[in-house]
Symmetry: C2
Subunit: 304 residues, 2 copies
DNA sequence: GGTCATTTGTGTAACGTTACACATATACTG
DNA sequence: CAGTATATGTGTAACGTTACACAAATGACC
């Protein structure tokens, strides 16, 4: 019968099997290194003692590998599962981890000093950070661990690999299509600052945005406006605090109430969905009355 | 400057700070245990050496705690992020973990023997399993680790805590409403077996379903049918392999093509959504022509 | 039968940390 | 000022495992 109380140790298994500890270790970690007979004896002894394999922490310490990839969603964690982009990102990582046989550790980290410390305290072999604002303390903490760091969407920092697309160029291309011929162009944007304040302004300075993704796309839209001979100062820009259709609906509503709009470039399909909702409320036709663009080619986009 | 190459060790930090290793350890792990002066010296030395805190694995080994909660989604992992129920479940766990300062480790585990081994190899303090079928090897592996195990939605097993609702009673209540007065009742169900075969049958034996959730809800619907004086053997049941509106749309289509239907009890809002889609394709009115019920009160349900 | 390669087993020494128990210094009590 | 409580520092001994190097046994080959 399996042991009651404390878990058995590898040494105990070895003793019961009548072999050395190392032989028992090999039986689990490198089965081909040991004869079939010994292996069988070890596994039998293990079963009898209720030993289910080497202790993960001890193994990690000795081997110097944690066997897990750390994922930091930052403030996004709160609503990551509501945000299709974040969810898709997680799903992608999960798939790769599954293939690699690696665990995926999600770190609950926002900005508090206490939280940031958790990045260093996590038993992981590397870190993936979801897009955050420039100079976020989380990025510094991640780099300080000395482990490999990948930042998705920015900010770009020395020592970390940046993955993502050329947001500026893409926004420029999209902007040229959707803003073409518009008399009253508008942008529905992600947050511009770490505080995620809701902003409703006109022709803002893209470089003032500290969220790299937002900044790059604003720059791209401005490029597009210039390409089209459109005054950037006449483009109205509203921000949402999260990538949510519900919130976008409300913000788009404000945008529509406070002035005429005949083209909206939204920074995500979720935001675009909100725009469509707000337009529908007012009986405006798309694309007849108002041109709308989204971003990610998500399933939602296909349906409209 | 931060050390190049290998990470510094606590002993090195202590030496540089001119204190014992234990004092350095306390400076990090229990700051109030050490004088402000020493603490400062230790932290300074650490900064100079690029030491970011105790090695997580070593700490785990010594303390006997991993500081992480393991989550096993099983085969669901592949599409967990597409399944609103699974996503909400993950979000809830994530929230609790964040509050508790615990990491959340997602284990890529399906049924292969290799995968199941990963449950034992994970550095976690406890395990949460997403609903799976009876007698799944993953459940056994989880229990064998000797760590606390919580199973969401079943199966119920000795040694593990089961969380979930009384699916049978709830299904009975819902079934009594939606199937009332139906001449051609139908059920759109989750998979019945581990193989997730697509089934289209009539009055199946609920107890033959090895997915506890499916079984309980089928039992509840059958109870409802009896309550209503409806022959269970006349209730048509179709299954979907995943909790997806797209697939439900197709399955509901089959259901509608192969015979008349005037009431559908779907096991989730996603499935119900598929039913609505299939009905819309055929110009059938809801609830005029066909009564439809979902399950989870998800946001999607509110919109319809 | 002797040489060499391969298979299999073992002892030792870490991996980096913290629990524990004890020693010393300092502060408080009456 | 003795007596006691509290604050602070330290040495030792694990925590459970595996890398490494070596030894012994086995097999292959001519």
């Amino acid at each position: 019968m399996p042991s009651q109380g404390r878990r058995a140790t590898l040494a105990q298994v070895a003793e019961r099997a009548g072999v050395s500890t190392m032989t028992a270790s090999y039986a689990f970690g490198r089965p081909e290194r040991v004869s079939a007979a010994s292996r069988e004896r070890v596994l039998t002894a293990a079963r009898e003692l209720g030993y289910t394999g080497p202790d993960p922490s001890a193994r990690s310490l000795r081997q110097g590998r944690a066997g897990a990839l750390g994922v930091v969603l930052g403030e996004h964690l709160t609503y990551a599962f509501d945000d299709p982009q974040a969810a898709a990102f997680l799903a992608g990582i999960a798939e790769v981890c599954a293939a690699a046989g690696t665990a995926m550790t999600i770190l609950p980290v926002v900005d508090s000093a206490e939280d940031v410390g958790r990045v260093a305290a996590a038993a992981v072999d590397g870190l993936v950070l979801w897009t955050t604002y420039d100079d976020s303390p989380v990025v510094r903490a991640a780099l300080a661990t000395g482990r490999p760091v990948v930042v998705h969407g920015g900010p770009a920092v020395d020592g970390a690999t940046l993955v993502g697309i050329d947001d500026r160029a893409a926004a420029r291309a999209v902007g040229r299509l959707v803003l073409a011929g518009a008399a009253h162009p508008a942008v529905l944007a992600f947050p511009t600052t770490a505080e995620r304040a809701v902003v409703l302004t006109t022709g803002p300075d893209p470089d003032a945005a500290t969220f790299p993704v937002t900044r790059a796309r604003l720059l791209g839209y401005r490029d597009a406006a210039q390409d089209l001979g459109l005054e950037w100062s006449r483009v109205r820009v509203a921000t949402c605090t999260t990538n949510s259709a519900v919130e976008a609906h409300a913000q788009a509503g404000r945008l529509l109430e406070e002035g005429p709009v005949d083209a909206v470039a939204a920074m995500s399909d979720q935001l675009a969905l909100g725009v469509l909702g707000a337009l529908a409320d007012r009986g405006r036709a798309v694309p007849g009355d108002v041109a709308v663009s989204g971003w990610d080619d998500s399933p939602v986009a296909a349906e409209r």
